[in-house]
């Protein structure tokens, strides 16, 4: 960021204008994350179920 004016401009801008943002790419990325999470997590429960019983 070499333009100092950019910061001034950003500072004056409001944070969020409700409803005018689209983020479909992020939705896909995070959905993928959740999918990996679910798979890895339950694969581990499966692996655990195969070992000796212990209380």
């Amino acid at each position: 960021m070499s333009d100092p004016k950019l910061v001034d401009r950003l500072e004056r801008e409001r944070d969020t204008e409700p409803g005018d943002h689209k983020m479909p790419g992020t939705v896909v990325l995070t959905a993928l994350l959740l999918l990996c999470f679910v798979v890895y997590y339950f694969a581990n429960w499966k692996a655990l179920a195969d070992v000796w019983h212990v209380r």
Binding site: E13, Y41, L48, R55
Partner: protein, 175 residues
């Protein structure tokens, strides 16, 4: 702006995809949360951390008495012990050995007492890959039921000094 003071009215409920994601993440976290209590009551693998206070000297004495009462042979210089199914069995961790070697019956349940006679050790059963922390002064009780027969290796997986990698033991499970 993340590096400037936010506007006065920043306190706003999220909306759109962000709101949906928070809901989804919360639901997933609830599932994560429920899995542990669920497995605690319904699963077969739970280390509840059952333990009693002891001392290395007391525990060593108990291990020796256990060996004297149940010894059936020797393996690689380590006494091999065959206890009665359902009984209390003892295993000592010490720089750098697991003592004695155990001969167990498949599908029988034992109360395995493990403690350390010196520093911290890690009980790691291979290739089953079950791991427990072993501390001096703590009689760690694992109520185990071997479900497969075969020769199993106990390795130490908590650093315990220069010969840590030599600290191995044996559990033999017969069908």
């Amino acid at each position: 702006m993340s590096i400037h003071q936010p506007p006065d009215d920043w306190f706003q409920a999220p909306h759109g995809p962000e709101r949906v994601w928070i809901g989804l993440a919360l639901a997933w976290c609830l599932i994560l949360f429920l899995m542990m209590p669920y497995w605690h009551f319904r699963g077969k693998q739970n280390s509840t951390g059952e333990a009693y206070r002891t001392t290395p000297a007391e525990f060593a004495e108990r291990v020796n008495r256990f060996i004297d009462a149940n010894k059936v042979g020797e393996e690689n210089g380590v006494p091999l012990v065959e206890p009665a199914p359902g009984s209390d069995i003892y295993l000592a961790a010490q720089m750098w050995r697991w003592y004695p070697a155990l001969k167990l019956k498949k599908d029988q349940t034992y109360r395995l007492h493990v403690s350390s006679l010196d520093v911290q050790h890690g009980f790691s059963l291979q290739p089953m890959n079950m791991n427990f922390q072993i501390l001096p002064g703590y009689d760690h009780v694992l109520t185990v039921t071997p479900t497969q027969s075969g020769d199993y290796l106990i390795i130490c997986n908590e650093f315990c000094g220069i010969n840590h990698h030599l600290m191995t033991g044996r559990i033999r499970v017969e069908g």
